[in-house]
């Protein structure tokens, strides 16, 4: 099997290298790719869309239809992970670990004994028992709001600096996952319930597709943002800029919710009680 794989790989590699004879050299400013379609993007993006970041302008306006489907791909992946892994009928675990808050002592409780003990001064910890670390928990708790602020900055400033919906959404999702890793999964689920982030995921992409549908209802083509200019009381160019911003917000919400959703399903194997 390995020999067959090696032969296939070598043949494919030779075929691909054979084609590089006709490629333009690396960094050539006169290559066909740089002469045909992209000069218009570079020259006209500020005057047609009002957005200096050309990548955001192309992503959300000129090729915005592609980006809508890309967000749908990530939404679909979240739904597939939920569909495959989530188990609703919970067989409770055979034993749970509890830690005494004041002394740090850890006890193991069988599930049939749980009702008989008074567990007021205990907190539940995960079966993958890690030692209690005050520094880690406190530092993460301090850092998370700043991470989220930075993520919102990245989403909002996508017009003028590298950034945008996907990048900011991933950072926002990562802040919640940091909470889940440094504390435990249940603390994150208390702040962001399952139903909420599952619905937010759909709402985010619906904002994107909804903007396009509004443009159709107002008589223009799908995702033609100049249809929004009477609604927003601005010129056509600024309407495009605001339209790009609205869809980036939608993308950010969708990506954040999906990252959290996939993490929850994978790390707790669908049971949503204990994670990493």
């Amino acid at each position: 099997m390995k020999r067959l794989a090696l032969i296939v790989v070598v043949l494919t590699g030779i075929l691909l290298i054979y084609a590089t004879v006709d490629f333009p050299p690396w960094g050539d400013p006169n290559s066909p790719a740089s002469r045909h379609v992209s000069p218009r993007y570079i020259k006209k993006s500020v005057e047609e869309t009002g957005v200096p970041n050309i990548v955001t302008a192309v992503l959300a306006d000129y090729r915005g239809y592609d980006t809508m489907f890309e967000t749908t791909v990530i939404f679909g992946a979240g739904v597939v992970c939920f569909f495959l892994l989530r188990v609703f009928k919970r067989r409770p675990r055979k034993e749970r670990l509890y830690r005494h808050l004041l002394t740090g002592l850890v006890i193991r409780v069988r599930e049939d004994m749980e009702e008989e003990l008074d567990l007021e001064e205990f907190e539940r910890i995960d079966t993958l028992w890690t030692p209690y670390d005050l520094i880690l928990k406190t530092v993460c708790r301090i850092m998370i709001p700043f991470i989220q602020l930075f993520a919102l900055y990245v989403i909002a400033h996508g017009h003028h600096s590298p950034g945008g919906g996907f990048q900011g959404g991933v950072i926002l999702g990562a802040s919640f996952i940091l909470l889940a890793i440094s504390h435990d999964l249940r603390s994150m689920l208390r702040r962001m319930k399952e139903k909420l982030h599952a619905i937010l995921c759909a709402v985010g992409v619906m904002i994107y597709a909804g903007v396009g549908a509004v443009c159709v209802l107002l008589g223009f083509n799908f995702l033609d943002y100049k249809a929004l200019s009477p609604l927003l009381h601005t010129t056509a160019v600024m309407a495009r800029s605001y339209g790009i911003f609205i869809v980036e917000v939608g993308v950010g919400i969708a990506v954040m919710a999906t990252m959290i959703w996939i993490y929850n399903n994978l790390s707790s194997e669908g049971r949503y009680d204990e994670g990493l």
Partner: protein, 126 residues
Amino acid sequence: MFEHIIPKYNYWIYITLMMIGLYAMISKNNLIKKIIGMNIFQTAIILFYVSMGAKRGATIPIIEHSQGHGIIDVTRYINPLPHVLMLTAIVVSVATLGVALALAVKVYKRYGTLEEDEILKKIKEE
């Protein structure tokens, strides 16, 4: 002869990377190693697209405020279109990775192992 190799060494690098990923996907037994190979394979394609947009001496495609209203020189900014396409491709590869890991978790829950030959043996015994 050498004008095909030296100015185009970026293409040779990505082809090598892609073939490493493809070899891992075909020949390795462990399911997680196959998933890693898939990720290397997709990353190599992303590298290819991004490298085709580069221009010597050009900067990132964000128009500074001072340049905003004059004539913009196209050779000062790199080609933005491959970057846009690869944003999409990165998201698609992350989504595929998520689905593949969910499937691997399910396989592990069912069969208790992640090696493909052991799984096939267990299937034959059932």
